[in-house]
Structures are given as C-alpha cells and as structure tokens.
Amino acid sequence: MTSAKTFQVHIQRYDPDREPPCYTQMYQVDFHPSMTVLEVLELIQQDQDSSLAFRSSCRSSKCGTCAVLLNNKPVLACREVLDGGDITLAALPKLPIVRDLVVSQQEREQRLEQIAVEQPRAVALPESKVDYANVSRCIECTICTAACPVGYEMDRMEPRPDLLSSMIGAGIPVSQGEGVPVEGNIDHCSLCLCFNSYSYTQPAKDTVMLLDRLGVHVAVPQQQCCGMPMVGNGDLDGARRRAEANLASFLPWLEQGYDVVAACTTGSLMLKEEYTGTLGLRAAEALASRAYDLGEYLRILVEDGLLELSKLKPVPERMSYHTPCHLKAQRIGKPFVELLERIPGMQIEVLDTICCGLSGSYGLKNEKHDLSLAVGQHLLDALAQSQPDLAVSECGPCQLRMRRGTGLPTKHPVSILWQAFDEDPLCHGVQK
C-alpha cells in the first residue's frame, strides 16, 4: 500500500448543522488505473470517513443518480475514469444541496408532476418524428441541465422524450454565407447581428437612430455572422473563423475606447462568453470585457441620466414580452422590460415562458420543424391567453416564431423605445 501512488481528493462538503456549513475537505487516496470517481467516494466512505454523503445506485451508468461536479464539470461519478491527478468534487449546481454531494430532486419531481400528461408521445408529435431509440437512452441524471450554459432545464421535459429529443442538437452544418455589413461611420460601435442585418433590419436601424439621438457615437464596423449558428451545429472551426474576422475588425475600435453593443441577445452572449469560452480565443477577452447587450447598455445610459424615461409617451399597444434564452444566460435581468415599464402608461406583460423552440437554427431545419413547434407551443398558448396587440422580444427567431404562430405583429423593444422617444418632441432635446 505504501508504494501506491496517491492523489488528493478535495471535496466541497456541506453540513447545515456546522458553522460554516460549506467547507472543503481533503482526502489522500491510493490510485489505481481504471479508477472511477464513484470508486473514490466509496473508498473514502469505507475506509476514511463514513460521514461523507453521496448518491449512487447501479454503479454502471444506468440509474442516473450519481452525478457530481468533477473539477467543475458535471459527470456521472460511476462512469468517469480518473488519471491519478488531484481532483475537486462538488455537488451538482442548480439543485438544492442536502448534504455534501447529495442534492434534492424534490422540486424537479414536483415540476414534472405538474406537466405530466396521460399519453406522453401522442401529445406533441406524430410517432414517426420521435427518435425513441435515441431518447430512451436518457437516464435522467440531470447533467445536461447542470451543463447547459443558458440555464435551460432540459430534463424538465422528462418523461416526454419527444420534447427531450427536440433539445438535442442536430449536428448539421448550415450554409456558410459571408456577411454583408451595414456600413456606417459613426462612433461608439454597434454590432447588429445577422438577423438584424439581413432579415429584419428595422431593429438595427432603430438602434443606431436611438443611440445617435442620445448622443452616443456609433460605428458599425465590417462584420460577419457572430458564429453562434456554427457553434450550435458543431462547426467550431467555422465559428472560430467568423470570430477571428470580427475580432480583427473590432479591435481597432476597442483600442480607441469604444464599447461593443449588440442588439441581439445571441450576439451579445457570443461576444461576452462564447468567443473566450467555447472557442477558446484568448484574444477575445478584451472584446468580452467591453461587450454589452443593447438593453443592458441603454440601462446604463438611463442611469447616467442620458435618457429620462418618465418623460416618454407610451405606445398605445398592449404588449406581451417573451424573454429570450440567450438573455437569461447573461444573468442581467430583463433590461428592456425595466426600461419600458418605467415609461408611464406602458402596458407590458412579461410572459412566463421558456424556450420559443426555434433555438437558433435548429427549428429552421425542415426535419426539426415539428419538434421545434412542439417545444414552442407553450409560448403560442401563452400569447393566445393574454391576447396582446403586439408581441415583443429582442430575439429575432423568437419574434419569428411568435409572428408565424399567432399572426400577431412583433417588435424588438428598441423599436418601441425609439417610437416612444420619437413621438415625444420634448425629449428630442436631450443631449449629452
């Protein structure tokens, strides 16, 4: 035993009866090849510390109960093989911790109870659309929920494997067209994403108009697709090429002290997190640290007194607002809602909705259309329920889904703000 190679296991423990309840404990464990995380936990519990609490059952990757964080990555403890290096273990995030590595599934179970339906497969989809063999592999370990960067609770849909499958990416690269930039020569710079550049350009125009009127110098440098569609479809190299081109184009502006603002939540998320994270571009750190979502940026301008919302006139339409997933992922609240709500008389209702179902390019694919619609159905239902005059979201695809699904007119909130701003001559005078 003495000759065995040992390694350190740091376990982030939790004991509500202790002060402080969270603490890290280190154990020294003998290593042997093929050792799994679960084996390490079992050995500690057996020979060193029987107070260590963790879940397991089958030991063979079938029951889904043993998920933990290994060096910050969610893994199945019984499946993850170690290499002998020191490790850190912690409880899965996003679920309440009971003790040590044990999390409570009760809330999840209650939610599932609320959405349980009599005949799972028939509700959403025709039989032929369900890749049952694939989704039947799900063991409900909740790792996907723990791993999802945008906080989508994928397993929340269980036991509706039809819906679950719709969340699993398709892996088909989309066509690789180059971007035609919106040209401009103004200061503080704005990156308007493809949807705004090509398909529905009004939000981009309104953004530039509004920022300009508020006295912000706006520049619209040469730009391409942010790369998110490629990331979403597994083409990381393609995404990296786009990112590098955008970086090259934006860096000179950054050096002159410009911030980067994106009118699309996907774009702002991409700039803030994915260029450096998923794509691993160190050079994008400067860009990430200066990137803002448009709503977030406008909120700062309001705080700085550049825009007095209480003086604006409401638009007459009753609006329902849908929160884009990529906004939630940025954990900045709902800045546009905050802004619009501060305009006296504005009638805006925030819908309690999850994903619109388009999920980037996913729902645009022919073969995924039905699945995507099924996922987004709750959004259409919510709109049918609240019957607004106007459906609002800063995400282009979300608007598309709402418009097509209900026939309601849709708008980007910046257009509403611009409308409210433009209609009130008093405000025109607000200058820097």
């Binding site: 057996q46 029987s50 107070s51 059952s57 990757s61 029951c63 109870e113 349980a116 339906v117 497969r121």
Partner: protein, 563 residues
C-alpha cells in the same frame, strides 16, 4: 417524530412498488410511497434484456400453456403454480396497458415485435427495448404515479413494520432527506423492496438491494419461502473493481479459460461447452476458482475477442461501460466469476400478494413463489408488473374494509430510541461498509454457488458472531440523521445478517440439490419437491417443509405439457 396517515403504504419504488401504488390509487385509497433511494432507481431500472410475455404477438405454437410449462420446469417444480398461471395469463394485459401509457417495444422492419430467444424458453418470447427495457418501464410508471399525484418521497428507509392486534398498522422509517424518524400509520403495507444481491461480494444488483423487506417481514411474523434459492449469473466482472458484479450478456457468445489457459468447460460439458445451463456454468466457474485455477482477481477469463463486431451491437451498454474503463472486450479478455443476480425466494404470498400477516402485501423480487428454484430470463420484469398491480389493487380493497389501526406510539418510540442510541456510537473500530464486506465474504464462502452441510453450519455460527460481536464494533459518523449514510448502512447490515441467517437456515434444511441451490453433500434432486418456509418464533428461526402447490403440473408429467 413526524406522523402520517395513509390507507396504503408502499415501500420500494421499483416496477413492483410503482405498479402497486398506481393500482392502489386507482382503487381509491390514500397512497404513500417511500423509497430509501430516489424514486424508481433500483433493480428494475437496470433490468435490461427484456420482458417475457405471450400474446397475440407470439410465434405460432407459443401460448400461455407453453410459458407455464417452461417456467415450472425451469423453476424445478418449486413454483407456486396458481401464481405462475396468473403470470403467464396476465403479463400481456400489463404489457398492453404499459403501451397505452407510452412504452414502446422494439419492432422489426415488418412492424412486428422483436422477440428474443432466451434460455429455458421454448419459443422466442422476450420483448425488448434495446438493452434498457427496465429503464423505460420505470420511466413510464413514474409518469403514471405523477399523474395520479401519489405522495412519494425518496430517502426514507423503512425500518420496522408496525403490528397491532396481529395485523399491520403501518411502518416506521428513517427519513434521511429531512433527518427525522417518521411514522406512517396505514392498515395495508405493500413491500416491494427488491432482491438480496448485496449479501454477496459480487452482484449485479444496485446498492439498495440489501434484503430489508425480508428482514422486516420476518420480524413482523411473516413466513419466508425458499430462502436458499439465490440465482448466480455465471459471468459477472471481478475486475476492474468499479465494475465488480457487472454482468456480461456477451457471455453467450464467448469462450472461457482458466489460469492454465485451458478451455475448462470441455471437461464439464464436452458437447455443450459454455452453452450449458446458467447454474451448471456458474458451478463450473466456481469450481475452477476454488480449486486454484482462477485468475489474479479471483475469476476466470472470458474471451470475446473472436465474437463478430455486429454481435456487440446488442450489448452496446456493457461494451461501452467496460471500454470506458480501459477494458475493450474486442481486444482483451476479461476476468469474470459468478455474481449474485436474482432472488427466487422471498415473502410467501398468495395470488393477490397477501403475506401471512393481515394487511401485509409483497410484490416483485422480495416475494417468493412465482419463480420457484430458478428464474427464466424476462420472467421477473413480467412478475413485477403482474403482481405489483395485483398487490396494489387488493391492498386498496383491504384498506377500505379495514378498521383504522390505533397508532402504535410505543413501537415507534422504541425505534427512535434505538436510532438515537446508535448514532452516538462514535468509537467503534469498523465502518458499516467494512462490516458489510465481512458478511459478504462469509456468504460467498459458505452460501454461494456450491454449498455443503459443514460450511453452512459454520456459517450459522459465524453469523451469530457477526450479530453479537461485529455489529457493536461499528462506528457511526455523527448524531445528525440528515443523509446519515453510515446509519442507513448499519441498519442495512443488520437486515443483511438476518436475511443471511434465513438463507443459511433454509439451505441447511434443503438436503438435496434443486434449482439454484447446490449441495455438494447432496448432489441429487429429492424425488418429491418440497418448499421450505422460515419463520421467527420466540426469537429463533424455524425452518419447515411443505409441498409446493402443484395444481397443474407434477414432476414426470412435465414433458407432456400442461393440458
């Protein structure tokens, strides 16, 4: 201590427990469901190969009578035949119902069900969902339990059944989810706690299968049936340690070698080689190991390197799981030994799931009778559906007519005192897991694949030693009950010792070799089959023989079939 009032309490949430709960709820009762792990993550979840059932889909010539005969002959006439009749007749109804709830079996290109051939079945009749039929079943059943909003709670280990005036009055549990002792008052309790694999060092069973339900039932006065009948799967991995007990279906296609590079099955079964019955294969492997021709980790070599690649497609999960740990079966030999797999014995019940104590029900692997001395492939997943449903429905009816028992404060207080006393034991020499290892070694040595009178007698004394000397040496991790796994593990060990004692007692009483029970000192089958029932009387175990219920088929008439 928190107290709850229910009509029916279901303990255990594998397939049997969930089906029972669903039926009990449909029967109008207030149902409480408790599991010491998470809901629906037990033995049923890992049940992979398939479920056997005859129905309109059966091959020409196959029908309930044929499955009946296969099951009874396979079970060496220890089966309770009225129960087998119900199994083969009702399995298809449950299958159809499960399909209406969203379960989807594999179908071929022609749209017909895929039916697998499996050992002991005279027709292909095992229905599959890739290699994960149990997982899918449990998902569907959980959904039905949610739909009915059945009160279900994980992390509650049942510790004691409450008895009032000779009938069931509920149960006491340890709720480690909130850190409390809880009491559920209920006139009907359904035990669905699964098997006993954890009594052995190598097992395919999940960690919760420690035989708790058997120990609880015994202490409550119930009769246990054919406790010696432990099925060993011939080829479970012994290495790597993280996969100890992981069973390999690929065995059916592979060759076995001992440490002397001999394909030893040629000595035992010159014609059939590895294709003999599972019990014979297990005994041959076991013999090689105890006679010193085993591998470094105490197994024999399983060689699947010549098996065609396509064959592995049907064993996707096991192939991947082993490969992930650096053991690619297509490239290297694996070390295997028999692993405790299924328990045919259990709480004696009737066709409605009633045990011998009024108000007590049992269903699934914790119950005995259906499978006799040997379980055929797929018959267990069929059993949990059929008898889970029956037990739940009957329990609901019983609870409706039952007088509500007076809550048993005294018994509950006693359990709580015991637990509070236990957790303060901080300076023992052993952890509960170390204690379990001792028990497992002993069971493997004396009450494993091959047994004899001397070994079983030794086991009986050693088990008394474990109970009286080992248990008091076990240390607890601290006074809080919240996720106190050392306490759970200790209580499990205590149950395991009790169950081990009944297995040994029953094995001593069965002075013949029948089904999965093999006595070296009595290698032959007795001329007339008999069942053994174990009870606890005045603190002592008592084993008694009785004839099995052979309502349709008797030894000797077997080959003619059941007309």
């Amino acid at each position: 201590m928190r107290r709850y009032e229910a009509d029916i309490l279901v303990i255990g949430t594998g397939g049997a427990g969930l089906y029972a709960a669903i039926r009990a709820a449909d029967g109008g009762g207030r149902v409480y469901v408790r599991d010491k792990g998470l809901i629906g993550r037990g033995g049923s979840t890992v049940g992979g190969a398939g479920v056997s059932a005859v129905g309109p889909w059966s091959k020409p010539g196959d029908n309930a009578n044929v499955q009946f005969r296969d099951t009874v002959i396979g079970g060496a006439y220890l089966n309770d035949q009225p129960m087998v009749r119900i199994l083969v007749e009702e399995a298809q109804q449950r299958i159809v119902e499960m399909e209406s709830w969203g379960l989807k079996f594999d179908r071929g290109p022609d749209g017909r069900y895929v039916l697998d051939q499996a050992g002991g079945h005279s027709y292909p009749r095992v229905m599959t969902i890739s290699d994960r039929v149990g997982l899918q079943m449990v998902k569907v059943l959980r959904n039905q339990a949610r739909l009915r909003q059945i009160e279900r709670c994980p992390d509650v280990m049942a510790c004691r059944l409450l008895i009032h005036n000779g009938a069931i009055a509920g149960a006491i549990g340890l709720d480690v989810g909130v850190g409390e002792v809880v009491q559920v008052n209920a006139p009907a309790v359904v035990l669905a706690t699964g098997g006993v694999g954890q009594l052995y060092p190598s097992t395919s069973n999940p960690i919760q299968n420690t035989g708790d339900g058997l120990a609880l039932a015994l202490r409550a006065g119930a009769r246990l049936l054919n406790m010696e009948q432990v099925q060993f799967y011939p080829c479970g991995l012994v290495h790597p340690p993280s996969l100890r007990g992981f069973i390999l279906g690929i065995q059916e296609y592979a060759a076995l070698y001992n440490s002397e590079e001999e394909r030893f099955m040629a000595r035992y079964e010159p014609e059939l080689l590895e294709h003999t019955t599972r019990d014979r294969l297990a005994r041959a492997i076991f013999t090689e190991i105890v006679e010193g021709r085993g591998t470094a980790h105490g197994g024999v070599y399983l060689d699947a390197t010549d098996v065609p690649k396509e064959t592995f497609l049907s064993f996707q999960h096991e192939y991947e799981v082993a490969r992930d740990r650096g053991f690619d079966m297509q490239l290297v030999r694996l070390e295997v030994a028999p692993a405790a797999h299924y328990f045919m014995g259990g709480v004696a019940i009737d066709i409605s799931g009633c045990a011998s104590v009024p108000g007590l029900y049992a269903a699934g692997e914790v119950s005995g009778g259906v499978q006799g001395g040997n379980r055929l492939s797929g018959n267990s997943l069929a059993e949990i559906l059929v008898f889970g449903a029956r037990a739940g429905a009957h329990a609901a009816g019983y609870a409706r007519g039952a007088i509500r028992p007076t809550p048993e404060q005294a018994q509950a207080a006693e359990v709580e005192r015991e637990i509070r006393g236990l957790v303060n034991r901080r300076n023992g020499r052993l952890t509960p897991s170390q204690g379990k290892q001792r028990l497992r070694r002993l069971m493997w040595q004396y009450a494993g694949v091959i047994r004899d009178g001397a070994g079983l007698t030794a086991a009986r004394y050693e088990l008394i030693g474990l109970e009286q000397e080992l248990l008091p040496q076990i240390s607890m991790s601290g006074p809080s009950l919240l996720q106190n796994h050392s306490l759970v593990s200790y209580l499990e060990l205590k149950n395991m010792i009790t169950v081990a004692q009944t297995i040994v007692q029953s094995a001593l009483e069965r002075q013949e070799s029948r089904g999965a029970h093999y006595r070296q000192d009595f290698p032959e089958e007795a001329s007339t089959p008999f069942c053994i029932e174990v009870t606890l009387e005045g603190g002592h175990l008592r084993a008694a023989r009785r004839p099995p219920v052979m309502s349709e088929l008797r030894p000797g008439s077997g080959e003619e079939g059941a007309e």
